[in-house]
């Protein structure tokens, strides 16, 4: 299991950075992008920001990548960049078995030095969602177990994505169901 952070591109450099174990490198060099399904987004899709929202956008995903392992991502809205655009902080867990995704994992996560406040907010939200039975996180984890043939899972319905995840948490009249 490898835990990293995709840092928000606050300076609009065009190169996303990955922080792992205190060192920072370019994301496109450090991460094998070719193994990722197109539906797995390294951040938050724009459509989730367009809904009326009172809370910062929080988005969870999982992708199976073979050999029982996969990649988990938790992304949180992280303020603005120099041009006033909304940017995102993402926690990435590579080589991750679904069974490893338990609240205890949070204690193993090192906070990125440049994004302490935002990373703490993200981990608080994860902790909260682990403890709520019907949270988007627990629904996603249940779906991963329930649908072993599906590859990609997301905590929100993505209607406008050109590459939709195989499973998305449906929110309608308070009822959760699989729409994949």
């Amino acid at each position: 299991m490898k835990i990293s952070w995709i840092l928000p591109d606050r300076e609009q450099t065009g190169t996303m950075l990955l922080e792992h174990g205190g060192s920072i490198e370019s994301l496109h060099i450090m991460l094998n992008l070719h193994i990722l399904p197109r539906a797995f987004i390294l951040g938050i899709p724009e459509e989730l920001f367009l809904a009326n929202r009172s809370q910062p956008v929080f988005f969870l995903q999982y992708a199976r990548l073979g050999d029982g392992l996969g990649m988990f991502a938790a992304s949180l809205e992280a303020g603005k960049d120099v041009g006033g655009r909304t940017v995102v902080l993402t926690l990435l867990i590579e080589q991750c078995e679904p069974a490893m995704l338990k609240s205890e994992i949070i204690t193993e996560i090192e906070i990125p030095t440049s994004e302490v406040r935002c990373a703490n907010n993200l981990l608080s939200e994860l902790t909260k969602q682990f403890s709520e039975r019907t949270s988007p996180l627990n629904s996603l984890l249940q779906a991963i177990e329930q649908f072993p043939e599906r590859q990609t899972f997301a905590s929100e319905v993505l209607r406008r994505s050109a590459n939709r995840p195989d499973w998305m948490k449906k929110k309608r009249h308070g009822i959760e169901s699989d729409i994949g």
Binding site: D9, Q12, M16, H28, L33, L36, L42, I44, E46, A162
Partner: protein, 238 residues
């Protein structure tokens, strides 16, 4: 005609409101005939104006909140009926258009999907960044041109690439433009052309040049976009 001469001609056309393309008999018909039914894609580095260009083409208001695009957003197919200076309209379409992010990882993952099936690929360059941080902006431009070379084989064999130098109003100031601002833009266009020629090599013929544009000013956008369409019609590889 080199890129620079065409670029200056277009800027002066907008400043002086001179309908230069009206001089050529039958040219509107040629534009209309070539563009009808064509499909476009829009690519470019981070914050170069891709979202705003789609909004302009769809005649939607500029977004109140700007968001870093990640992943692939499918746009509903839409038709564009673009007015020409003679009052006629050019009809073309954005079919299966995909809005994508401009970061390097997003380019490597999603740009080819956005360019599949396109007849014209518009590549946006941020003129403001080009002036303020020329070295890194040119490096990114160079890398993106290399990306094009690697991926051309997956695109339509007849695909045309056209460069749009965005934020021209911020860089040049509102028309009429000063000579010094225009001279500085001339140097930029020369540099861009040289870089594209060196990197694209045999594929350079696929690129029809660079046109100034402004996504933030509707009037300038309409004028410059009509010029880009005429330039593409005129200079596309036959």
């Amino acid at each position: 005609m080199g890129w620079l001469a065409k670029f200056v001609e277009v800027v002066l056309f907008v400043v002086n409101a001179t309908p230069i393309i009206e001089k050529i008999p039958g040219f509107y018909q040629k534009i209309k005939s070539w563009w009808t039914g064509k499909t476009i894609a829009i690519i470019g580095a981070t914050a170069s104006g891709k979202n705003s260009m789609y909004s302009r083409l769809r005649k939607e208001p500029m977004p109140a909140e700007h968001i870093q695009t990640r992943g692939t957003t499918a746009l509903t197919d839409f038709k564009i009926s673009w007015p020409l200076p003679n009052g006629e309209h050019v009809d073309f379409k954005c079919k299966r258009s995909i809005n994508i992010g401009g970061e390097i990882d997003e380019r490597d993952r999603h740009w080819s999907q956005a360019c599949e099936g396109a007849d014209v690929i518009f590549y946006l360059i941020d003129a403001k960044k080009m002036r303020e941080d020329k070295l890194s902006t040119l490096k990114r431009f160079h890398d993106d041109m290399r990306w094009l070379v690697t991926n051309f084989r997956d695109f339509k064999p007849s695909v045309t690439v056209h460069l749009l130098l965005n934020k021209i109003d911020v860089t040049l100031g509102s028309p009429p433009h000063t000579n010094s601002a225009l001279n500085s833009m001339k140097k930029l266009v020369d540099t861009i052309e040289k870089e594209a020629k060196d990197t694209l090599d045999e594929y350079f013929q696929r690129v029809t040049g660079v046109t100034p544009i402004s996504m933030s000013d509707e009037h300038l956008f309409c004028k410059y976009f009509a010029s880009a369409m005429s330039t593409i019609t005129e200079l596309r590889p036959k």
